[in-house]
C-alpha cells in the first residue's frame, strides 16, 4: 500500500520534471519571436508593434540565456511555483486551479455517466449474450467508435440544442452547460467500456467458479452479487485505467468544441499564444490528473482484490 503510493508519487515527480523539460525544449523551438506573441496576447492584436514587444522582453527577462531560464524554472518548480502567465500576468497555479476545477467537473461527470450507461448495457448484453440486445449494443458501440469524438458532440448539439432547444451549445454558465459535453464524452467512453463490461461479465458467467457457486446452491442473484460483481469489476477497473489516456484526449477535443474553460482548452490556447508557463502548467496538470486517476484505479483494484493486499 505504502509502496503503491510511493511509486505513484515518484511517477508524479517524474511527470513534472519530464513534462517541464520537454515543453521547455519544444517551446524554445517554436517559430516566431516569443515577445511578439506575448504582446499580442496582452495588448490586443492591433497593438502589436516593436515597442510593445520590447517592453515585454525587458519586463520578463526573455533575453537571458536559455540555460538560465531553464534553471530558474526548475528551482521554481521545486518550490511549487509555476511562475506567472506570460500573457495575463496572473500566477499560473491560480489559473490552473480555475481550469482544473472545470476539467475535473467535466471528466468526473463524463465518467459517472459513462459508467451509468456502460454497466447496465454491458451486463444486460452479457446476460443475453448473442441476443438481439447484445448485437444492437455491439453495433451502436462500433458506430460510435468509428467517429471522431467531435462528431458525436456536433450531432448532440444538432439534436438537443438546435432541434429541441433544450440545452445550450457551448460555454459555461451553470450546470446545464455541463450536460452535452459530459454526455458526448461519456458516449465515446461507454462505446468502449460497455463492451469491456459485457466481455468480462460473460467471461465470469461462463467461468467454472460461477457455475460452481450455483451448484453449491446459490441463486443467480446471490451468485452474481457475491462472486460475479467483484470478479468482473476487476478487469473493468483495470480497463478504465487504460481508458484514462483517451479520456484526457477526449477532454481536449470536447473542451475545444464546447468552449469549455478547462485545462485542455487552456493548453491549446496557451500553445497558440506561446505562453510557456501556462503550457507547462496545463501539461503538468493534465499529466498529474493522469497519475492521480491511475492512483485511484490502483486503490480501487487494491480494495477489490484481496490478492494484492496479501502480496503487499
Amino acid at each position: 500500500m505504502i509502496g503503491l503510493l510511493l511509486r505513484r508519487l515518484l511517477q508524479a515527480a517524474f511527470v513534472c520534471w519530464s513534462i517541464g523539460t520537454l515543453t521547455f525544449i519544444l517551446l524554445r523551438l517554436l517559430p516566431g519571436d516569443m515577445e511578439f506573441r506575448i504582446a499580442a496576447g496582452r495588448y490586443g492584436h492591433d497593438n502589436v508593434d516593436l515597442a510593445a514587444a520590447e517592453a515585454v522582453r525587458a519586463e520578463l527577462g526573455l533575453d537571458q540565456p536559455v540555460w538560465q531560464l531553464y534553471l530558474n524554472w526548475l528551482l521554481d518548480l521545486m518550490r511549487f511555483n509555476l511562475g506567472d502567465s506570460l500573457v495575463s500576468g496572473l500566477p499560473v497555479v491560480h489559473e490552473m486551479l480555475h481550469l482544473l476545477e472545470h476539467t475535473l467537473m467535466l471528466a468526473g461527470a463524463a465518467t459517472v455517466v459513462s459508467l451509468l450507461i456502460a454497466i447496465p448495457v454491458g451486463l444486460y448484453a452479457a446476460l443475453k449474450a448473442n441476443g438481439w440486445f447484445d448485437r444492437l449494443s455491439l453495433m451502436v458501440s462500433a458506430f460510435l467508435r468509428a467517429q471522431p469524438i467531435f462528431m458525436i458532440g456536433l450531432a448532440l448539439i444538432l439534436l438537443f440544442s438546435l432541434e429541441l432547444r433544450m440545452l445550450p451549445v457551448a460555454g459555461f454558465d451553470g450546470p446545464r452547460y455541463l450536460v452535452l459535453p459530459a454526455i458526448s464524452l461519456a458516449l465515446a467512453m461507454a462505446a468502449v467500456s460497455s463492451r469491456v463490461v459485457r466481455h468480462s461479465a460473460s467471461e465470469v458467467f461462463r467461468s467454472a467458479f460461477f457455475t460452481f457457486s450455483r451448484i453449491k446452491g446459490l441463486t443467480f442473484r446471490q451468485a452474481f452479487l457475491r462472486h460475479g460483481l467483484r470478479n468482473c469489476s476487476l478487469p473493468v477497473v483495470v480497463f478504465l485505467g487504460i481508458q484514462l489516456a483517451s479520456v484526457i484526449e477526449g477532454v481536449v477535443m470536447i473542451e475545444s468544441l464546447f468552449s469549455w474553460p478547462g485545462l485542455g482548452h487552456g493548453l491549446a490556447h496557451a500553445i497558440f499564444s506561446r505562453d510557456v508557463p501556462m503550457i507547462q502548467g496545463a501539461a503538468i496538470a493534465l499529466g498529474l490528473i493522469f497519475v492521480g486517476l491511475n492512483l485511484i484505479v490502483d486503490l480501487t483494484c487494491y480494495a477489490i482484490d484481496p490478492r494484492s493486499r496479501e502480496a503487499a
Partner: protein
C-alpha cells in the same frame, strides 16, 4: 429490470432539463470570440467599454465625431500644448466614490505607465486643475488627443481599482453596468448599476461568454442560448438568415481586409507585379460567395465611413486576368510547364500568412490562393498567431500577409497610418520594404494641421499615394456580422466597436 429503471431515470432527467428554457427573461447573454485575461483597460479594456462597465472621457458617434463622455466639455489651448477636460457632475464609480479630477488624473497616469495608443501623444503631464477639471500638457501639439481620450485603454476607473503595480485588482467603472463576475478567459457577469449618471439600463443582467469556435457561436444564437453573437463566420450567415428567431445585422465598420506585401522581395518589388496581383482578385466573387455580403469590394484601403480619407471617385478594381498576365509578362514573368510563372529560372512561389482570430480571413486566404494560382503565382498559405505579422515584418521573413486592419481604432486613422507608413512608407501592419518619403511627410504635417479643409486635402493626397503605389493591396471592406435573437429590441451596432449599447436594449414581451 435495472435497465428499465436506468432508462426511466435518464428520460426523467432529460425531461427536467427540457422544461428549463434556454432563455432567461432577466439576463442578456452575449457571445463573441474575444478571450480576456485581465481587468486592465490597457490590456482588455475594449471588453469593458463594450459591456458599458467602464467609460472614457470622450465618446465617438457613428460618423467618427467626438461626443462628451465623462468629460462634459473640452478645449485645446491656442498653442495646442494644453488640453482641458471639464468633468460631468454627480458621477459615481461603482464603489460609490464620486468621479473627481484626482481620480481621472490617477487613471490616466496608470494608463501612461503601460504601452498603448496613449503613448502616441507626447504627454508631459496630467494635472488636477480644480475639483472637476483635468489638464493634459503635451510636449508637442497633437490634434487627435481627443480620439485618444475616447480609446478604451484610457477608460477611467476609481483609484481603488488599481493595485500598487498599476494593474487592476477589481474594476470600479462608471458605466450603466457593474462588474459582478469575472472568470477569465470565458465569462463576465454584470448587473445594472442603479446610480448611473445617465439613462438607466433596461435589462437587469448581462453575461458575456467567450466562444472561440466560429461555428459554435453561430449555433449558440440559433439554439436560443445566446441573445447576441458578435463576429460571425461567413459560412454560417445563410444558415442564420433562414432562422425565424434570429436577425442578422451586417454593419460596415472601418476595417479593411488587405494584403500586406513585402516590396523588398525580389519578385514583388515592381509596381506592375503588385498591380497584377491586385487585378487577379475576383473581389465581387469574394464578397458575394465567400464573405456572403455583396458590395464589400475594396478599391482602396480606407473605407467610406472615414470620409476625409476615402477617395469617392476612385473606380472599382475589376478582375482582369489577361491584363494581369500582360503586366507580369512585361516584368519578365512567363508561365512554366506547370503554369507557374518563371523568371531567370526562379518560380514565382511565395508564402502568405494570416491568422485565425478573425474567422473570415482564413476562408478569404484560401480563395485568394486559388485566384493567384490562376495567374501563375504559387502561394503557400499558413495560419499563424496575429503576432506573427509584426514579427515577420521585423525579421523580414514575411512575404505576403492577409490582414484585417481597423482604421477606426481611435476615431481617426491618422495615428494608425503613421504607425503603418510613417517609417519611409513602412510599418508593422502597413508597407514593407517599400520606399516613399512623400507619404510620411504628408502624415507628419497632418499631425498638427488644424484647418479642416487643408486637413481633408492632405488626407486625400495620402490616400491617392496609397492607391497609386499599392504597397498594400486592398481586398474587401470588412463587414461586421452580428446575429441577434428576435427577443432583443433596440439593437444597434457601434461601427467603432467601442460600445455594445446594451443599456438601450430591451426584451420583447413574450
Amino acid at each position: 429490470m435495472k435497465l428499465q429503471v436506468f432508462l426511466g431515470a435518464f428520460a426523467l432527467a432529460v425531461g427536467l432539463i427540457a422544461c428549463t428554457p434556454n432563455q432567461n427573461p432577466d439576463v442578456l447573454t452575449l457571445g463573441g470570440p474575444f478571450e480576456f485575461t485581465s481587468q486592465d483597460p490597457a490590456r482588455d479594456g475594449y471588453v469593458y467599454t463594450r459591456l458599458q462597465i467602464a467609460e472614457s472621457l470622450l465618446e465617438v458617434n457613428d460618423n467618427g465625431e467626438l461626443l462628451p463622455g465623462l468629460a462634459q466639455t473640452w478645449d485645446m489651448s491656442p498653442n495646442g500644448l494644453t488640453w482641458r477636460f471639464s468633468l460631468r457632475e454627480n458621477v459615481r464609480f461603482h464603489d460609490g466614490t464620486p468621479l473627481t479630477a484626482e481620480a481621472v488624473v490617477n487613471a490616466l497616469n496608470m494608463a501612461l505607465r503601460k504601452p498603448g495608443v496613449i503613448q502616441s501623444a507626447a504627454i508631459e503631464s496630467v494635472n488636477v486643475e480644480d475639483a472637476l477639471t483635468v489638464a493634459v500638457h503635451l510636449r508637442a501639439p497633437y490634434r487627435r488627443l481627443g480620439a485618444v481620450m475616447a480609446h478604451y485603454s484610457t477608460a477611467i476607473l476609481s483609484p481603488a481599482s488599481y493595485r500598487e503595480d498599476a494593474n487592476v485588482a477589481w474594476m470600479q467603472g462608471t458605466g450603466p453596468y457593474k462588474l459582478v463576475g469575472f472568470d477569465p478567459p470565458h465569462r463576465i457577469q454584470a448587473t445594472r448599476f442603479e446610480e448611473y449618471w445617465g439613462k438607466q439600463a433596461t435589462i437587469p443582467n448581462v453575461v458575456y461568454l467567450t466562444g472561440h469556435r466560429a461555428e459554435s457561436r453561430a449555433l449558440q444564437v440559433m439554439a436560443g442560448q445566446t441573445d447576441i453573437i458578435y463576429t460571425l463566420d461567413p459560412a454560417s450567415l445563410n444558415l442564420l438568415r433562414r432562422q425565424d428567431n434570429v436577425r442578422v445585422y451586417s454593419d460596415t465598420i472601418p476595417r479593411t481586409i488587405q494584403i500586406k506585401v513585402n516590396a523588398s522581395h525580389p519578385f514583388m518589388a515592381e509596381r506592375n507585379t503588385r498591380l497584377a496581383m491586385s487585378l487577379s482578385l475576383d473581389r465581387q466573387g469574394l464578397s458575394e460567395k465567400i464573405i456572403r455580403v455583396p458590395g464589400g469590394e475594396a478599391n482602396q484601403l480606407v473605407p467610406p465611413s472615414l470620409a476625409e480619407w476615402h477617395i469617392n471617385d476612385l473606380p472599382p478594381i475589376k478582375q482582369d486576368i489577361v491584363r494581369a498576365r500582360g503586366l507580369l509578362a512585361e516584368e519578365g514573368w512567363l508561365p512554366g510547364a506547370d503554369g507557374i510563372l518563371e523568371r531567370d529560372g526562379k518560380r514565382f512561389q511565395v508564402s502568405l500568412i494570416t491568422y485565425a482570430d478573425r474567422p473570415e480571413l482564413y476562408v478569404v486566404a484560401t480563395a485568394i490562393q486559388a485566384q493567384l494560382r490562376a495567374i501563375g503565382i504559387d502561394v503557400d498559405v499558413s495560419i499563424v498567431n496575429s503576432s506573427g505579422i509584426a514579427s515577420g515584418h521585423h525579421d523580414g521573413s514575411l512575404e505576403l500577409a492577409l490582414v484585417a486592419r481597423n482604421y477606426g481604432n481611435i476615431a481617426d486613422p491618422l495615428g494608425l497610418l503613421i504607425a503603418d507608413y510613417g517609417n519611409h512608407g513602412n510599418g508593422d501592419w502597413g508597407g514593407m520594404g517599400w520606399h516613399n518619403d512623400e507619404l510620411p511627410a504628408v502624415l507628419e504635417q497632418l499631425k498638427s494641421e488644424r484647418d479642416p479643409v487643408l486637413y481633408r486635402e492632405k488626407a486625400q493626397r495620402a490616400a491617392h499615394i496609397l492607391a497609386e503605389e499599392i504597397p498594400v493591396i486592398p481586398v474587401l471592406f470588412y463587414t461586421q456580422q452580428t446575429a441577434v435573437s428576435s427577443r432583443v429590441q433596440g439593437f444597434s451596432f457601434d461601427p467603432y466597436e467601442r460600445n455594445y449599447r446594451l443599456s438601450e436594449m430591451s426584451f420583447a414581451q413574450p
